[in-house]
Each structure stands twice: as structure tokens, then as C-alpha cells.
């Protein structure tokens, strides 16, 4: 009797599951062509996750859907942690979202496998001209120089600092026009190291992108491509410069708190509020966490990117791409043109606390004011150049298998700079040879 009941219940629930799903394999990639009266349906996979950013995304999609009854967009919220596993499966299965939010490092691999549409000859002129070439370079890949996405948000590395501690130490506050050099930064860090507090914290749980982006301050590119198109790793004097300077702060000057080395990006914030260290070199988006979490009366300031031989930093962009399997690429592009226009990019940048690529958006008053360091953050976009590693096939494997452990060991003082360089090059080249 019990077994019979169980069978009946299972059958009922399975039926309920099938009926209650509410979804069908419809949307832009459906194999069924829409009837004449039916609107084109597009799936938009978004990775926005901060409250303001999700609200901005939803509002823009809603505005589009109201104004365009013939092209209806479904907003689908994804997750940064798993998006590439999700996309590979959906690409291979022939059922990807039509419009895909991702970041530029992921695009090279997807583009080489033919998953993404080359937008080079399809981009609307206004959208193309509103975004500088340096940003387009972050999404341009392959021998054909295909453009596999529209870059719309970028991150620069700035310094978030405890203003009271800076004022008390009477150090010069740098400006966008007159930033600190790395030498000045080292001196200031030493000056701020007193009474058990440190000048700076370097959270280096994921040290590779941060190190490589900052290495461009001294022209360090870490990769070189010969005439035959073969890419190898190089760690010369330019590449070693930033590594050595960070190491010196931790182990020689002792102006950087060694216990923060193993921390993730946001982990040092509690210690920062408590005055355990005065400065945090971090991505611009971390300002949002400071605004939300900092104790009352805590005064903080955003300082511009440091200068080596230049203030250049490697740029990684957040992007929107169109799936090669999309049944409605033209409609997807129309939606993207609207979604990424100047005013909308300003809303998205403000919601995510990042920098817009749109020239029009960059002058929007909402992201250029002094409040919360927006003026410094937005101005730092001029320091961004394409990160050389974006073009390297096999970078992800080099990063996870070689560079991450090598840099972690180096910053922890377990191996010398030459040993780290040897690992990065010799083991790294073995990895790249496979690509």
C-alpha cells in the first residue's frame, strides 16, 4: 500500500514539475520561428549583482521592452562564479542566451571556438565612435581582428586611504594631474607605519591580474609575441619593477601588513576601518563597500593611480556579446545599442561603481562629482590601456597553474625574485606551448 502511494505521489509530483515549470524552450534561440504577430524574444544574461546595478539593468530592460513591443528582452541574472561553465554548456548545446554579459578575458577563448558573433562590420556608428579605441582593443581578437563584444565597464586600480591618518602624517595628497610616483608611495607608506599600524595592505590572494595590470606602470607586459605569432612569457627589468617594489614594502620597509597578503580583495576592509593600515590599493568598485560599511565619522579618500614611467594600467572590460547561435543577431545589436548609450552607461557605471567606456557617459554629472571619489575614479580611465594578457591563448592556465603560486610564494618571501621569474617563464612557456 505504501509503495503504491509512493508511486502515485511521485507520478503526481513529476507531472506537477513538468506542468508547473512555466517555461518552455522559447526565446531567441528557439528552433521555432516566431509567427508574424509574435514579438522577437531575446534572452539577456546579466551578471550585475549589486543592488543598484541590478535595479539599473532591470530599469533599462523595462524601458526597452515598453518602447519596443516587437523585440522583447528577458532579463536573466547569472553569477560571475559559474558563468563560463554555464556558457560553455549552453554554447555546445546550441542554446545560449542571445545577449551575454561577461568580461573581456573570457571572450578570447569563446571567440576562438566560434561561440560569439564577430561584430566588426555590424556595430552602429554612434556606438562605435562613443567608445575609445583603447577599450575596443580589449575585445578585438584573432588574425581577422574580430570584435567579439562591446566593452562598457572598466576597472582601474586606485588607492583608498584613511584621510585622517594622511592628514596627521602631513603627506602631500596626490591629484589626477600630479599623482604619487611609486617612490613617493613607498615613502608615504613608511611615514604612515607607526604605533603598530601599517602604511598599506596588499591583499594578494589572487595576485596575478593585479600585478600584471600594475606592471604596465613601468612598461612590464609579461608576454611577447614573435614574428611567427608565437607567444612566450618574459620577465625582464620592466616586469620585475612592480614585483620588487611590493615585496620591499612587505619585507624590507615593513610598511605593508604581512597578515593581509593571503586575503581576498575585500577582506582587509575591517582592518582598514580600524586604522590597522592607512591605504588599500584596490579596484575602484570597492568604494561601494566602504560607503556601505565604514563606521560613522570614518573619513576616507580615493587617490589616483600611481605613476612609474607612466600611469598606464592594464584594462579589463565588462562586455556585452551576441551568441553566434542567436536567431536574432540584428535585434540583439539594436538592444545593445540602446542598452549601452551614454546615459544608460552612466547609470550602469554608477550602479556597479565602475568606469564607463562611453565618452558621453564619462562626463555625466552623476559620476564625475567629488562625492565618494567619483571624480578621481572616472579620471583614472585615461590611464587604462589594453592588458597584454587579454590576447594570450592559455593565459588562464598560466595564471592558475604557474603565476598564482609563483607570485604568492614570492610575496610571502619563500622564493627570490629570480626564482619567481624563472618559474613564470620556464613553466609558463611549457603551458603556452600547448595552445
Amino acid at each position: 500500500m505504501r509503495i503504491k502511494s509512493a508511486v502515485a505521489a511521485a507520478a503526481l509530483l513529476a507531472l506537477a514539475a513538468a506542468c508547473g515549470s512555466g517555461g518552455s524552450p522559447q526565446g531567441g534561440t528557439s528552433s521555432e520561428a516566431p509567427k508574424a504577430a509574435e514579438p522577437v524574444k531575446l534572452d539577456f544574461l546579466s551578471l550585475a549583482w549589486q543592488k543598484e546595478s541590478v535595479e539599473a539593468n532591470k530599469a533599462i530592460v523595462e524601458e526597452w521592452n515598453k518602447a519596443n513591443p516587437g523585440i522583447q528582452v528577458t532579463y536573466v541574472q547569472g553569477s560571475w562564479d559559474n558563468v563560463n561553465d554555464q556558457l560553455v554548456t549552453q554554447f555546445e548545446g546550441g542554446d545560449p542566451p542571445d545577449v551575454i554579459h561577461n568580461d573581456s578575458p573570457a571572450l578570447s577563448n569563446f571567440a576562438s571556438r566560434g561561440y560569439l558573433l564577430d561584430l566588426k562590420d555590424k556595430l552602429p556608428a554612434e556606438l562605435k565612435s562613443d567608445i575609445p579605441q583603447a577599450a575596443w582593443d580589449t575585445v578585438t581578437f584573432g588574425k581577422e581582428s574580430g570584435v567579439y563584444g562591446v566593452p562598457f565597464l572598466q576597472e582601474s586600480q586606485v588607492i583608498i586611504a584613511n584621510k585622517k591618518l594622511l592628514d596627521a602624517a602631513k603627506v602631500r595628497i596626490p591629484t589626477t594631474d600630479n599623482p604619487w610616483t611609486w617612490d613617493e608611495f613607498a615613502e608615504v607608506s613608511k611615514k604612515l607605519t607607526k604605533d603598530g599600524a601599517f602604511g598599506v595592505a596588499w591583499p594578494m590572494k589572487s595576485p596575478v591580474n593585479k600585478t600584471l595590470n600594475l606592471a604596465l606602470n613601468f612598461g612590464g607586459t609579461f608576454f611577447q609575441t614573435d614574428a611567427d605569432g608565437k607567444t612566450t612569457v618574459k620577465v625582464g627589468p620592466e616586469e620585475k619593477e612592480v614585483l620588487q617594489r611590493i615585496y620591499n614594502q612587505i619585507h624590507v620597509d615593513k610598511s605593508a601588513d604581512p597578515k593581509t597578503l593571503g586575503m581576498g580583495t575585500a577582506d582587509p576592509l575591517p582592518g582598514f576601518y580600524k586604522g590597522e593600515y592607512a591605504m588599500l590599493p584596490v579596484g575602484v568598485y570597492l568604494r561601494q563597500q566602504v560607503v556601505e560599511q565604514a563606521p560613522e565619522g570614518f573619513e576616507w579618500i580615493t587617490l589616483p593611480p600611481l605613476k612609474g614611467t607612466s600611469t598606464n594600467q592594464g584594462a579589463v572590460s565588462q562586455t556585452l556579446s551576441v551568441a553566434a547561435d542567436s536567431k536574432h543577431p540584428d535585434e540583439a545589436l539594436k538592444f545593445m545599442e540602446f542598452f549601452l548609450n551614454g546615459p544608460n552607461q552612466a547609470k550602469l557605471a554608477k550602479g556597479d561603481w565602475l568606469l564607463p567606456t562611453s565618452v558621453k557617459a564619462a562626463s555625466d554629472p552623476s559620476i564625475t562629482g567629488k562625492e565618494n571619489g567619483w571624480d578621481v575614479a572616472t579620471a583614472s580611465v585615461k590611464s587604462l590601456v589594453v592588458a597584454p594578457f587579454l590576447k594570450v591563448n592559455g593565459y588562464d592556465e598560466w595564471k592558475s597553474k604557474v603565476a598564482t603560486p609563483a607570485l604568492q610564494e614570492y610575496y610571502a618571501g619563500k622564493i627570490s625574485l629570480d626564482e619567481a621569474a624563472k618559474k613564470l617563464v620556464e613553466e609558463g612557456n611549457k603551458v603556452l606551448e600547448r595552445y
Binding site: 509512493a6 526565446g27 549583482w49 536573466v76 559559474n82 546550441g94 580583495t265
Partner: protein, 272 residues
């Protein structure tokens, strides 16, 4: 004294088990400022329900919980319904086929999920089961079935053959002896399998992420992931509040069904 030390050990184990839940509750009631404090406290200075409000207003947690419940219950029941007769056959019918089947069940456990996710997705797509809860149920049953079979097989083996033989002597046919004699004795095994299948399905994330595209069909783990960002940065408050709510249905299910987890049903069934 022995009993006292047993209670102490039990209490310590309870504290160990309850710690994550208690910390989750504490975090869910804290403001972002208090969460960023370097001196964390168990009891928030300024308790707030804002995290619960944010979790429930920003995401369709109730709808997702209902969908998760449908998927988990359907997966658990289907798994047991399919595994029970198969486990009986594997345990009772000796032969080459039984040994091969047992070996295959074990081998299937060593395949990493990620290896077969793409072919599985393509199969579901051909069956028009992508973006449906039924598709997720099929996947979850597929993945819990081998272990469920293995578990139930052990319970079937523990039922003495003599009981079935005694039933046969009394005139019961095979089906009758299975239904009236074996099945009731397998209740603890069925309950354990149900719990295992339910919890596996309730928590499953990756397949649901890949199979479900439409926001209206997404399950609870997918909703929780929406509070996390890149590089381990997350909106801890709403995430803790939502995670706490997500544990409640499985706790209730466990509380209801665990009473059936009895031992000693077969004690004294066979003499000598």
C-alpha cells in the same frame, strides 16, 4: 560517569553542528557596518531585519523555494521508486548480470559531473526538457540513483532470506512477500534514501544553472548565487538571510521523516 561523558560529547557535537546555523542567524541580523567589524559579536548590537527584507523583495525566494521543493520531492520519490525494485533484484538475484550491474553502479560514481554535463544538456534539449523543472528532476534522479541503489541494496541484503522463505511456506507469492514482508522492514533504508536524494536535489546548483534559463523557473540555489559577485565579494547580509530561509524547508522535511529512521526492526526475526 560514563553516561555524563556521553552527554558532554553529544553536547559538544551539537554545538559543532549548530555553530554555522547560529552564525548565519547572527550575520543575517547585522548591519553592513557591524559585519565589517574586526570584533565580531554573536548578538548584534543593533539587530535589523533589513537583510531579510532585501532578500525577499529583491529576489523571488518564495517562488524559488516552492520550485525547489517540487524538484526535490519529485526527485527523492522517483529515485526511491526506481531504486527499490532494482536494489532488490541486485541483492537477491545472484548472477553475472547482477555483478556487472553492481560494478557499473560503482564505476558511475567516479565520473566527474562536469565531464558529462554537455552531452546531458544536449539530450535534455532533444527531449525539449531544458528550461523545465521536469528536466532538472530527470537530471537529479539520474545522479542520485546509483548511490541510492547502492544504499538500498545494503538494506535489502540485511533482510534475512529466511523471512521470505517463511512467507512462502505460509503461501505468499514473491510479490506478496516483497510487499508485505520485505518492504516494511526496508522502511529505514527507504527513509535514508529519501533524505539523501531530497537533500542532494535541494542543494544542487550546477545542473540547475545550466538547464534553467527562464527566471520564472529558477530554483533556490540559483537565487542565492545572485547575492554573490566576483572574487569572493558578496552581499553578506541578504545572502545570510536568504540562506537561513533556504535551510528551513529541508530541516522541516528532515524533522518529519527522521522518526521513521528506526533500527532494530529485524531484531529477533530469525533465531539461531
Amino acid at each position: 560517569m560514563k553516561r555524563f561523558s556521553q552527554y558532554v560529547a553529544l553536547a559538544a557535537y551539537m554545538v559543532f553542528l549548530a555553530f554555522p546555523l547560529a552564525w548565519l542567524l547572527s550575520t543575517a541580523l547585522k548591519t553592513p557596518r557591524e559585519m565589517a567589524s574586526t570584533d565580531p559579536a554573536w548578538i548584534p548590537d543593533d539587530p535589523t531585519l533589513a537583510n531579510f527584507t532585501a532578500a525577499f523583495t529583491e529576489q523571488d525566494l518564495v517562488g524559488a523555494a516552492v520550485r525547489s521543493l517540487i524538484v526535490a520531492l519529485a526527485s527523492a520519490l522517483l529515485t526511491v521508486v526506481l531504486a527499490l525494485p532494482a536494489a532488490y533484484a541486485m541483492a537477491r538475484i545472484r548472477g553475472a548480470l547482477s555483478r556487472v550491474a553492481t560494478g557499473w553502479v560503482l564505476v558511475s560514481q567516479v565520473f566527474p559531473f562536469i565531464l558529462i554535463i554537455i552531452p546531458l544538456f544536449m539530450v535534455l534539449r532533444n527531449l525539449e526538457l531544458t528550461n523545465t523543472l521536469a528536466g532538472v528532476v530527470v537530471v537529479h534522479v539520474t545522479f542520485t540513483l546509483p548511490f541510492a541503489l547502492w544504499m538500498l541494496q545494503g538494506y535489502v541484503r540485511a533482510v534475512p532470506r529466511e523471512l521470505e522463505e517463511a512467507a512462502a511456506v505460509d503461501g505468499a507469492g514473491r510479490l506478496r512477500s516483497i510487499v508485505s514482508v520485505v518492504a516494511p522492514l526496508l522502511a529505514p533504508g527507504v527513509v535514508a534514501t529519501l533524505l539523501f536524494s531530497f537533500i542532494s536535489s535541494w542543494n544542487e546548483f550546477l545542473f540547475a544553472l545550466v538547464v534553467l534559463k527562464d527566471p520564472d523557473v529558477m530554483t533556490l540555489p540559483l537565487m542565492l548565487a545572485r547575492f554573490t559577485g566576483p572574487e569572493g565579494v558578496a552581499r553578506l547580509g541578504p545572502l545570510a538571510a536568504a540562506s537561513l530561509m533556504a535551510t528551513i524547508p529541508s530541516l522541516i522535511f528532515f524533522a518529519i521523516i527522521q522518526r521513521r529512521l528506526k533500527s532494530g526492526l529485524m531484531a529477533g526475526a530469525v533465531k539461531g
